[in-house]
């Protein structure tokens, strides 16, 4: 499964990426996809079997599951 996490700041994305690296979750930082948000910040694309394996941080704005047709919002902190 591919998850996209968006953040309130670039720092939030960096912090999440570090946590993913530590937890052995494949993750990379990239610009937020337009289909997910009109904001143009940095997101983290994570590959994991289940949502509960993903790190959670205070800086996280939302987590979305990438689907064939777009994105399904799983969590929102806004």
């Amino acid at each position: 499964m591919i998850y996209i996490a968006t953040f309130f700041s670039h720092y939030g994305a960096m912090h999440c990426k570090k946590l993913c690296d530590t937890a052995g979750i494949s993750a990379r930082m990239m610009p937020v996809p337009r289909a997910l948000s009109s904001s143009c910040g940095t997101c983290v694309r994570m590959e994991a079997d289940r949502e509960d394996l993903l790190p959670r941080t205070e800086e996280m704005e939302q987590i979305a599951l990438e689907t064939e047709t777009g994105y399904q919002i799983l969590f929102s902190n806004f």
Partner: protein, 362 residues
């Protein structure tokens, strides 16, 4: 919207914006200034009598149009999102110094592209400084720079900036005697009000839809090797260049394209200060998260932090002209040079003071 469709939209939007910008010059705006967010906010400050530089006073309908274009499209697309509270005062100060940098160079990043498309090689030095400023900003992003999170706000807060834009339009249409209008200089050169407003609405809508950002293009290319936004940048340049060449071919006396350093419209030839002005602008814009155009668009989407940044831009413009900080065709002023140096120092301090550190427990 998938990635290739997104890229196509950005290129199309950039091309349309370049055509509109060149057309506005043909219809009356100053040369290489179909759009300039910094100049137009400066003119608006003058129109509201916040400064007394007689040659740059006119409430530019393009600015009103961009805010309302973004507002209307974000409402339609259910993306209007009132939010704020992310270090608003810091953003105002950054906005202030973005304007100081822009008025040293005589243009925002948008106009920098349009100046290049008009053959103004002085803007190349600006581009070098702008890219260097973005690299400085990225240095802080990588060290953990953050202005902290935003919060959901009441709809009235998000609608405040679009409401201000409507009030400005009413003043312009119904109470012009309250305002100042330049009778000579760049402020007196303007396309018809409704054309300028329509151009602003279209550009605001396109920029909202595509998230076009002059800073974001270079930032994403360096940070992620992601060139989508940069293509928008290039498309504006290419289409404006083609239009300028066509207009010049049709009306050779008007010289919409003139390659060189000397005699360029609303520009000076001091390369060092062109570069340093745009360095300050690029640096501060990365710390803000977007260029002046993007700040207007976000303000239209309900972001009150960006609205305050626009207020910072307005204040910067008023200060720049009241205290002799803005450059002219004759070159930069000593006071302007000092202001740019102070601006770079202040932006560095803001960067240093906002490095987030992980809380260590136990």
């Amino acid at each position: 919207m998938n990635k290739s469709r997104e890229k196509l939209w950005i290129i199309l939007a950039g091309a349309v914006i370049g055509v509109i910008a060149s057309a506005l010059v043909l219809l009356g705006n100053p040369k290489n200034m179909g759009f300039c967010i910094a100049c137009f906010i400066r003119d608006t400050a003058g129109g509201l009598k916040l400064h007394s530089a007689g040659v740059v006073q006119y409430i530019r309908p393009e600015i009103i149009g961009i805010i309302l274009g973004s507002f209307l499209l974000s409402l339609t697309r259910k993306e209007f999102s009132p939010r704020g509270g992310s270090s608003p005062m810091t953003r105002l100060v950054l906005g202030f110094f973005v304007m100081i940098g822009c008025l040293m160079f005589l243009g925002c990043p948008f106009r920098m592209i349009l100046r290049l498309a008009g053959g103004d090689l002085n803007a190349l030095l600006g581009l070098v400084g702008f890219a260097a400023g973005i690299v400085c900003g990225i240095f802080y992003l990588k060290r953990g720079y953050s202005l902290k999170r935003t919060y959901r706000l009441p709809a009235s807060e998000g609608a405040a900036m679009p409401a201000v834009a409507v009030v400005l339009l009413i003043l312009l249409l119904a109470f012009p005697s309250l305002l100042a209008f330049s009778e000579s200089g760049p402020g007196s050169m303007r396309a018809a009000l409704w054309i300028s407003l329509l151009a602003g609405l279209i550009v605001g809508g396109l920029a909202q839809y595509t998230r076009l950002c002059m800073v974001g293009g270079i930032r994403d290319a360096i940070l992620f090797r992601e060139f989508k936004l940069l293509f928008g940048f290039i498309a504006i340049f290419a289409s404006a260049l083609i239009m300028n060449l066509v207009f010049t071919a049709v009306k050779p006396d008007a010289a919409y394209f003139s390659l060189g350093f000397e005699g360029q419209p609303v520009a000076h030839m001091d390369g060092v200060w062109n570069a340093l002005g745009m360095l300050l602008t690029g640096f501060a814009c990365v710390l803000l998260g977007g260029c002046p155009l993007r700040q207007l668009v976000l303000a239209g989407e309900g972001n009150s932090d960006s609205a305050l940044t626009v207020v910072g831009l307005l204040l910067g413009a008023a200060f720049a002209h009241n205290f002799g900080l803005a450059s002219s065709a004759a070159g930069p002023t000593d006071a302007g040079k000092i202001a740019v140096i102070i601006g770079i120092v202040v932006v560095i301090l803001i960067g240093e003071c906002n490095i987030a550190r992980n809380k260590k427990k136990g």
